[in-house]
């Protein structure tokens, strides 16, 4: 009886192993025939190329492994920015689509239909090449608030130079910890005595006061470095100092968030509409305010519907960020599966590492979102 159950599974497993074995054997034989060596030793070799934008210090004297890290961090950076903005835009547009106001409703609908029906690569090209050409040259730019410079060569923003940055960070951590204690206390008080505590204003107060104290007594000091225009040639200029956000990063983040936001908006709309009308009416009938209805009754139920498909969108966004290679944003694909692959010729090694990396990134996002989904799921008693 058991054999009947196990045998097909064993056979499937065997077939899978055989297929993998065949492919790796085939690759091995072909590489041997063509005199291609195999190995991961190249990762420690000197990379001898530079990258235009990286979060960690990098130049050609660093190893290929560090080049991999540079690409990975850039991929994570653009994905995180994209996810944050896509979520904000998505939630706003999704709720706007449910609005009774005709203009808001239709504007949101047009936005969703327009952006989700144009291929992402075209949108990236549009934001990079078309929008880039419209930006001013460094010498023609008008500063925003006197310190921000949006130019064709990038967005130059002031940098903050910190003294004793660690103490400042500790003060913020301390503030966050005390806020969580306040919340626990407030909940207990409400459960026991039915008195509500103004948690929000206390939290904001803590977040302001503790860092200010660190400035006054902790020796924390911050000065601002404003970008300054610099002449390169008779007609060419750039900015020096401050932080430079390359136009490639901006266009990519913009394209990714605007595109993914349309899908998230639809998830949000589906989630809210998925909560039955009776729930809202029942909540209203026991005297909850419209805000409380949304916060305490509708959203907790809607989120259960919203989270799983939104997780897919986060995964898509992360994977889509690999289109960066088309517009010179130095992400994992451009730096590692591009330049490093070309310079070393280690196609199989590099492509396998890159695939594993995207796999791990996606699985991490999945695990986090599943955890969050479980946390907000209705706990049946």
């Amino acid at each position: 009886m058991n054999i009947k159950k196990i045998l097909p599974q064993l056979l499937t497993l065997l077939v899978v192993i055989l297929i993998f074995g065949f492919f790796s054997y085939n690759a091995q034989v072909n590489m041997e025939n063509r005199g291609i060596s195999f190995g991961y030793g190249f990762l420690s070799q000197e990379s001898s190329f530079d990258v235009q934008f990286s979060l960690i210090e990098f130049d050609g004297s660093h190893s290929y492994f560090r080049a991999y890290l540079v690409g990975l961090l850039n991929t994570i950076l653009v994905s995180v920015i994209g996810i944050i903005f896509a979520t904000i835009i998505g939630v706003v547009v999704g709720i706007a689509r449910l609005s009774n106001n005709y203009l808001i409703n239709k504007t949101a609908a047009v936005y969703v239909e327009f952006f989700r029906n144009i291929p992402l690569l075209l949108q990236i090209f549009f934001w990079y090449f078309a929008a880039l050409r419209a930006l001013p040259l460094p010498q023609d730019t008008e500063p925003m608030f006197g310190v921000f410079f949006l130019t064709i060569k990038g967005f130059f923003v002031p940098a903050i130079i910190w003294n004793n940055l660690d103490i400042f960070i500790y003060s913020i951590i301390a503030a966050i910890i005390s806020i969580s204690f306040v919340r626990i206390y407030a909940r207990k008080k409400q459960e026991n005595e039915g008195i509500q505590t103004p948690v929000l204003s206390i939290s904001i107060g803590l977040l302001l006061i503790l860092p200010i104290l660190s400035f006054l007594f902790g020796g924390v000091d911050a000065s601002v470095e404003v970008p300054v225009i610099k002449q390169l040639s008779q007609s060419g200029f750039t900015f020096e100092g401050g932080i430079k956000l390359p136009p490639e990063l901006i266009s990519l983040a913009l394209a990714l968030s605007l595109y993914t936001a349309t899908f998230i908006a639809e998830c949000v709309r589906a989630g809210v509409q998925g909560v039955s009308k009776g729930q809202k009416e029942a909540a209203a009938s026991i005297g909850l305010t419209p805000n409380q209805v949304l916060k305490l009754v509708v959203m907790p139920q809607a989120l259960r519907i919203i989270i799983p498909p939104t997780t897919n969108q986060y995964l898509n966004l992360t994977k889509n960020s690999s289109l960066a290679a088309a517009i010179a944003y130095p992400d994992l694909v451009l730096v590692f599966a591009g330049t490093a692959l070309m310079q070393t010729g280690r196609a199989i090694e590099i492509v396998s590492i890159t695939m594993l990396t995207y796999l791990s990134l996606s699985i991490s996002i999945s695990i986090f979102m599943n955890w969050y989904n479980k946390k907000i799921a209705i706990k049946e008693k």
Binding site: R34, D50, S233, L334
Partner: protein, 346 residues
């Protein structure tokens, strides 16, 4: 009696071993790539995605250029018709993988011959069909007249996955200039970004600069700086491990250069059969048995010269007459002050 039998067996064994050895070398002569090409009826050739003068497709999909002519020469030699070529446009990133994974049989795509490419990744370079070097293009109104005018913070646009990226670093490092490399996968995107003002300079092989300049919105507003910062010998590449095919491609190119040296052109090739010069007669197949060494007939080189022309004709047709680089520079014959010098075809 048994004594003789033993000797006889060893003799038979020896003959057998010798026989297998000879049949094996005969089989090796008939190269696998050559056999496949003749069976398919066309040469599979990897080219660029559009570099005027080297490999560029017109509106009708006809490919022209000096790199294209190498593949056409091979087709003329092994298939008898220079038009029996299937061109595959490849990005710099894809090119070597396409060759090693058997999608193409010749890579003729302005590819620089370097030690690591030749030795490490299963490729063999067969020769040089264009001697090039890396240069810089800048806007005329920048006032730059030399690379020595470059200042810290300059941004440079270039192609991804090329020797250009490495040379650029070596160059800026040696000058102690900090720079911003902006690398794109496709040449068209590099040109668009440079044209938009994203970069102060566009750097690649000088032939490439000359060819891509035509694509800018106002080509006359840009100049190529005089300095050359690297050696870029460009040439066709084949897979490692098929030495007969390697020889066919190498000598198809060499024959074109040698034909120019001896004044054999597509127009006069037939009449050269009666030439007094044995070297010329060998080139047009009237003397010697040169083709047999590759398993080809004796007219292989004559077909190359008649259908594709000699190197000078190819250069004039594709690079000089199109206004890309009218001056042949180092790509002139050694007898005329250049460095084109090929081993004799004999």
């Amino acid at each position: 009696m048994f004594k003789y039998l033993k000797q006889l067996t060893s003799l038979v064994a020896m003959v057998a071993v010798l026989f297998t050895f000879t049949t094996e070398t005969m089989a090796a002569k008939k190269s696998k790539t050559l056999k496949n090409t003749q069976k398919k009826g066309f040469v599979r050739c990897g080219v660029s995605q559009g570099l005027p003068g080297f490999s560029n497709a017109d509106a009708a999909g006809n490919w022209t250029g000096v790199d294209v002519d190498v593949c056409r020469a091979v087709a003329a030699a092994v298939l008898g018709d220079a038009n029996k070529v299937k061109f595959t446009p490849l990005s710099a990133k894809e090119r070597f993988t396409a060759l090693t994974s058997n999608e193409i049989d010749i890579l003729s795509r302005n590819t620089t011959w370097t030690l690591s490419r030749d030795a490490d990744i299963g490729l063999t370079f067969v020769g040089v069909n264009f001697y090039d070097g890396q240069g810089f293009m800048v806007r005329k109104n920048s006032g730059y007249t030399s690379v020595n005018d470059f200042k810290n913070g300059i941004s440079a646009c270039t192609n991804l996955g090329t020797t250009t990226e490495l040379n650029m670093r070596d160059f800026f490092n040696s000058k102690g200039i900090s720079y911003e490399p902006v690398t794109f996968e496709k040449a068209d995107e590099v040109v668009a970004a440079y044209d938009a003002g994203r970069c102060d300079t566009y750097t690649t092989d000088k032939s490439g600069l000359a060819a891509q300049r035509i694509k800018l919105s106002s080509p006359d507003d840009h100049i190529v700086l005089p300095e050359t910062i690297s050696k870029e010998p460009l040439g066709p590449v084949v897979r490692q491990g098929d030495s007969v095919w390697e020889d066919i491609v190498r000598w198809s190119l060499n024959v074109m250069i040698e034909a120019e040296e001896y004044g054999v052109t597509s127009a006069n090739a037939d009449s050269m059969k009666t030439s007094d010069n044995p070297a010329v007669k060998r080139l047009v197949g009237a003397e010697g048995e040169l083709g047999a060494a590759f398993g080809l007939d004796n007219d292989w080189s004559l077909r190359i010269i008649k259908q594709v022309g000699n190197y000078g004709e190819s250069y004039k047709r594709n690079i000089a007459d199109t206004g890309i680089l009218p001056d042949r520079g180092p790509n002139e014959l050694w007898t005329k002050g250049g460095i084109l010098y090929v081993p004799p075809a004999r």
